[in-house]
């Protein structure tokens, strides 16, 4: 195989290919639209002997993550994939994975949460797990989905970290949309991720341990504090892995991508595939002299608070684009966190929230340009008329 292979892949195919190259010891999964295809393709790799993975088919996502926990606690490298209601059914286990400090890596293909039932994209599923103790990495496209999964294995398994990681793609938009991307040589990917060295194993009879013991008011708090301390070590590890990845595969990643941010006065903050649409809008606005920029958040957990506040210092007005609702009547989760990040900043731009794309509602270049038009008005008048707006909804 050549050093790099240019291939046409959907997001799901890209993630399945990353899993093939990572070659995890165990995968336990249950199908759910739009993530089904990842495991369907991966199951073929297993059947064809292209991976040595023990694929466990289970009766629900709750069981899938439970089996992943067992396998990971036994000291194996574990991956899985899910979406929406499946992630919701894993909710109980998500916290256990993180609390047991098991570096399971999961693809989450973003799909909204019922009701009403809908199979299309928004970030409501991932946001439901944002306090569960998982590292959360968003991808703009198939290339990033593929790269992020490779990064995630290294980050999650780092001895300083030992926390689970979730890599997301936007359901159907990325998961089923085909685009060209680069794949790397399998041997090089495997060399990059290295051999998995578990922190502990229940199968190590030389060193018997108890996993999941009751932990009351005497030590529970210290264990949870330790978990936060581990999360606080994630950012430098992400940057270290990104640097090594860039050296090896010539693709640069950070905590976020700053697009046209050097002199940007009007800035939008986004997650996922909408960043691609926004880049087109920004290029057109820049051509007509508008100082538009974008911050695409790659790492949502841990939340890069200081770094984001620093990047937004010189903006005059900022719009945070939320593809999920917080149902607090105070805007979406990304808005809440970005605005909180700005609170301690000596220079705070005016900030507004736009909820968009729930249940797969389309967002196009014109919608994003209209957000910049609003930002221009806010920057000129130094006044916010409406803090929370909804894009492309009939009301």
């Amino acid at each position: 195989m050549a050093d790099k292979l240019i291939v046409a892949k959907t997001g799901n195919e890209a993630m399945a290919e990353a899993m093939r190259q990572i070659n995890p010891d165990v995968c336990a999964a249950y199908p759910i639209t739009p993530a089904t295809e990842i495991m369907q393709i991966f199951a073929r790799f297993v059947a064809d002997g292209q991976v040595k993975t023990n694929l466990v088919t289970v009766e629900s996502e709750h069981s899938a993550m439970s089996a992943c926990i067992g396998a990971s606690a036994a000291g194996t490298r574990v991956m899985t994939a899910t979406s929406s209601q499946g992630l919701a059914l894993m909710y109980e286990m998500l916290y256990i994975v993180a609390g047991l400090r098991l570096p399971i890596v999961m693809s989450d293909v973003n799909r909204t949460i019922s009701a009403p039932i809908n199979i299309h994209c928004d970030h409501g599923d991932t946001m439901g797990g944002r306090d569960a103790g998982w590292i959360q990495i968003f991808s703009e496209n198939a290339q990033e989905a593929y790269d992020n999964l490779i990064h995630a294995v290294r980050i999650a398994e780092d001895p300083e970290v030992r926390l689970p990681a979730m890599v997301t793609t936007d359901g159907f938009i990325i998961s089923h949309g085909m685009e060209t991307m680069e794949m790397y040589d399998t041997a090089r990917v495997q060399k990059f991720i290295g051999e998995f060295k578990p922190a502990y194993s229940v199968l190590d009879t030389e060193h018997p341990i108890t996993v999941g013991a009751i932990d009351l008011f005497d030590f529970y708090f210290e264990h949870k504090r330790s978990q936060v301390l581990a999360m606080s070590k994630v950012k430098p590890v992400i940057l270290k892995v990104a640097e090594e990845f860039n050296k090896e595969f010539k693709r640069n990643y950070g905590l976020f991508e700053a697009y046209c941010m050097d002199d940007a006065e009007l800035v939008i903050v986004v997650l996922g595939s909408t960043a691609g649409t926004a880049k087109v809008a920004i290029d057109r606005l820049r051509a007509s002299g508008v100082k538009a920029g974008m911050l695409k958040i790659r790492v949502f957990r841990p939340f890069p608070e200081k770094e984001i506040a620093d990047k937004l210092r010189s903006a005059r007005a900022v719009a945070i684009l939320d593809r999920s609702e917080g149902m607090a009547d105070t805007g979406g989760p990304l808005f809440a966190e970005v605005r909180a990040a700005l609170y301690d900043s000596d220079k705070r731009p005016l900030a507004v929230d736009y909820i968009y794309g729930l249940g797969g509602r389309d967002i196009n270049v014109e919608h994003i340009k209209s957000v910049y038009a609003d930002l221009d008005r806010i920057a000129r008048s130094k006044k916010i008329d409406k803090t929370i707006s909804y894009i492309n909804v009939r009301e």
């Binding site: 609390g99 047991l100 400090r101 098991l102 030992r162 922190a199 502990y200 060193h207 018997p208 341990i209 108890t210 996993v211 999941g212 013991a213 932990d215 005497d218 030590f219 529970y220 210290e222 264990h223 504090r225 330790s226 301390l229």
Partner: protein, 102 residues
């Protein structure tokens, strides 16, 4: 080390709340949970050792095949021993803890 000292800090604890050693249950004193205490009548006891077999906390102490007493640091007063003691012997009575605090 069998269990952590009470003032152990975050950095002293094993990752993920695991207990990095076997056989530590004996160090966990469940006796403070007890609201009833098993009291044995040595005259009635036929030394069948059902209490020793059924005790979920291995709190019934035995030496040379004979029941010798109850480890009150471990006994949480569940009463299983009194229930399993053969009715014709009826050697174990559960007595409220307050009776011992008078």
């Amino acid at each position: 080390m069998k269990i952590y000292p009470k003032d152990a800090k975050c950095k002293d604890l094993a990752i993920g709340g695991i207990i990095p050693e076997a056989g530590t249950a004996a160090e966990f004193e469940t006796g403070s949970w007890r609201s009833q205490r098993p009291v044995f009548d040595d005259e009635k006891c036929i030394n069948c050792l059902f209490c020793w077999i059924y005790c979920p906390d291995s709190a019934v102490t035995v030496k040379d095949g004979k029941r010798t007493g109850v480890d009150l640091k471990a006994c949480k007063g569940c009463g299983i021993c009194a229930r399993e003691c053969p009715p014709k012997a009826g050697a174990i009575k559960m007595v409220p803890e307050q009776e011992f605090r008078k």
